[in-house]
């Protein structure tokens, strides 16, 4: 139950209270009137000395059932009636000197009884309120528990569904991996065998056709491999640990640098922080970005590749990989990170177009963002954000 329903029940309670106020004071007046009637009746029948007890009973009843305010009213009314109807001089509010002490005792007694009764009543009322509150709270808790249980059930169901679809995806990837590659290998293999056997009798055109078949099969093979490893990124769990980006970038650059074939590349690598993440996956990010930078600067006399970082906040850092290569037109920037999206012709730059999609998926899984800036023939800069490993304590806690 929320606050507004609370307020509504509060309003209802105050309306009920106002109504019961009238009833209580009315009851007080009615009680005194009944006592007066009985007393007058008793006197007419010659029974005396019953007036005071009757009024006292009325006061006690009022105090018990109607509360302190009404009981005071009953005391006042009772004493007025008593002085008016039953003490000398009759039918006046004057009190004779003889009756004064008795009258004072009556009032004092009535007030004491009224207040005692009242204290008791109030305690009881408080108890009742407390009990009601408790009941209300219990009901609310029960309802909340029910809600939690319901949510829990839903969650378990969702998890099962997710698990099932994950399994399905896995078996899909598995059969793609097993069953799609085999015929492809046969296409490539038999084309190659045909080429070998019939090469002499084939003309130039036919040989080109054969070559295209072989190359296409190979290309499809690498597309399938890339797609499978891309889907594996989504399926495998990430292991979070402190990762020294300095070391990681050093490794990645050394790995990519092996295949640069003596090209003139000017590397500029800033000091980089220690970040949180899965080392193998983050390395894949850096290797992809660095090898892209190397690939797209192929036409440059001297390639310049800069790896830098900027603190976005005390917890977050943005790493950039900048090159002076082929660049890209900013109007296609949204296509850049898509699966199998390429902004260059296959003859210009090789590749399947999975690299940046992989980068984005990994960075997103780490809670970071990727973006890119570029200009045709002026180079490109790729950025990704990561959370920093803040303190040594946190670092060791997550190792």
């Amino acid at each position: 139950m929320d606050l507004s329903t609370y307020r509504i029940t509060g309003d209802a309670v105050s309306v009920k209270l106002a109504r019961s106020e009238i009833i209580r004071y009315g009851a007080s007046i009615v009680c005194v009137a009944i006592a007066l009637g009985l007393a007058v009746g008793a006197v007419t029948y010659g029974i005396h000395d019953l007036e005071l007890p009757l009024f006292e009973i009325a006061i006690v009843l009022v105090a018990w059932f109607a509360g302190f305010g009404p009981s005071i009213v009953a005391v006042v009314l009772g004493s007025l009636c008593y002085t008016y109807f039953f003490t000398e001089p009759l039918y006046s509010f004057d009190i004779s000197h003889d009756d004064l002490p008795g009258f004072a005792i009556f009032i004092a007694w009535a007030i004491i009884v009224a207040s005692f009764v009242n204290v008791r009543r109030r305690v009881e009322a408080d108890l009742r309120v407390a009990r009601d509150h408790l009941q209300l709270e219990m009901e609310q808790r029960k309802r909340r528990d029910e809600d939690v249980r319901k949510l829990n059930r839903e969650l378990v169901m969702r998890a099962a569904e997710l698990n099932a679809s994950n399994k399905e995806l896995e078996s899909f990837a598995y059969s793609v991996s097993h069953d799609l590659r085999a015929p492809l290998r046969h296409v490539a293999g038999y084309s190659e065998l045909l080429q070998r056997h019939a090469s002499a009798s084939l003309d130039e055109k036919s040989r080109r056709y054969m070559q295209t078949i072989v190359e296409s099969a190979q290309r499809m093979g690498s597309l399938i491999d890339d797609l499978l490893s891309f889907s594996r990124i989504g399926r495998t769990e990430t292991k979070s640990a402190a990762v020294s980006l300095d070391q990681l970038v050093g490794d990645a650059v050394a790995e990519v640098g092996q295949d640069t074939g003596g090209r003139d590349i000017a590397w500029k690598i800033d000091a980089l922080p220690v970040c949180y993440g899965d080392r193998a996956m983050l390395k894949l990010v850096v290797v992809n970005l660095v090898s892209n930078a190397v690939k797209f600067t192929r036409a440059r006399q001297q390639a310049k590749i800069e790896i830098g970082c900027v603190d976005l906040s005390p917890d977050e850092v943005e790493i950039s990989v900048k090159d002076n290569g082929a660049g890209f037109d900013m109007q296609y920037v949204n296509k850049l990170f898509g699966v199998f999206q390429r902004l260059h012709r296959a003859e210009e730059f090789e590749g399947t177009g999975i690299g940046l999609a992989t980068v984005q998926r990994i960075v997103n899984r780490h809670g970071g963002k990727v973006r890119a800036e570029g200009e045709v023939d002026q180079g490109a800069t790729f950025y990704f954000t990561l959370s920093k490993a803040r303190s040594a304590a946190e670092r060791t806690a997550n190792l």
Partner: protein, 150 residues
């Protein structure tokens, strides 16, 4: 295939893969060493000299090239059974599969496979891989006692 020395046991259900593999081994004159079984059960029959193989000499092959996706008894099951059989467990087994799946690799190694090779899509790479496997296991490697001699 009967009547050959049969030092290489190839377990492969796809006839095209069988042909491509034999083509690759031909270059090193190893093709006539190969016994081909077409599913897991046939491979086990061969190894246990039972069924159609009751008449064969009881020596073990020098190497077994095993595909994972097989009809009847699959490759992992064959691997598990061979590696838990005292008479057969010394036979070197090379898993030869289409798949890069890590779980297959992990399970194969946990069952004690001797090598795990993913068949390359590129034919030249495929031929090279098969040749090297054939030469290494059937020529260079000294097979365990009880294997078929050259």
């Amino acid at each position: 295939m009967m009547g050959t020395l049969g030092r290489i046991l190839l377990v492969e259900d796809d006839p095209r893969d069988v042909e491509l593999t034999l083509t690759a081994l031909e270059d090193y004159k190893l093709a006539n060493e190969v016994v081909v079984t077409r599913d897991g059960q046939e491979a086990l029959d061969f190894l246990h000299c039972q069924g159609q193989f009751t008449a064969r000499p009881p020596e073990n092959p020098a190497v077994m090239l095993l595909d994972l996706k097989l009809p009847k008894v699959d490759g992992l099951e064959v691997l598990k059974r061979v590696k838990s059989d005292d008479r057969l467990k010394m036979i070197p087994i090379v898993v030869l599969t289409s798949s890069h799946e890590e779980q297959d690799m992990m399970r194969s190694y946990s069952f004690g496979v001797n090598a795990y090779v993913v068949k390359p899509v590129d034919f030249h790479e495929f031929v090279n891989a098969i040749k090297e496997l054939g030469v290494f296991w059937a020529v260079i490697n000294e097979p365990p006692p009880g294997s078929i001699k050259r």
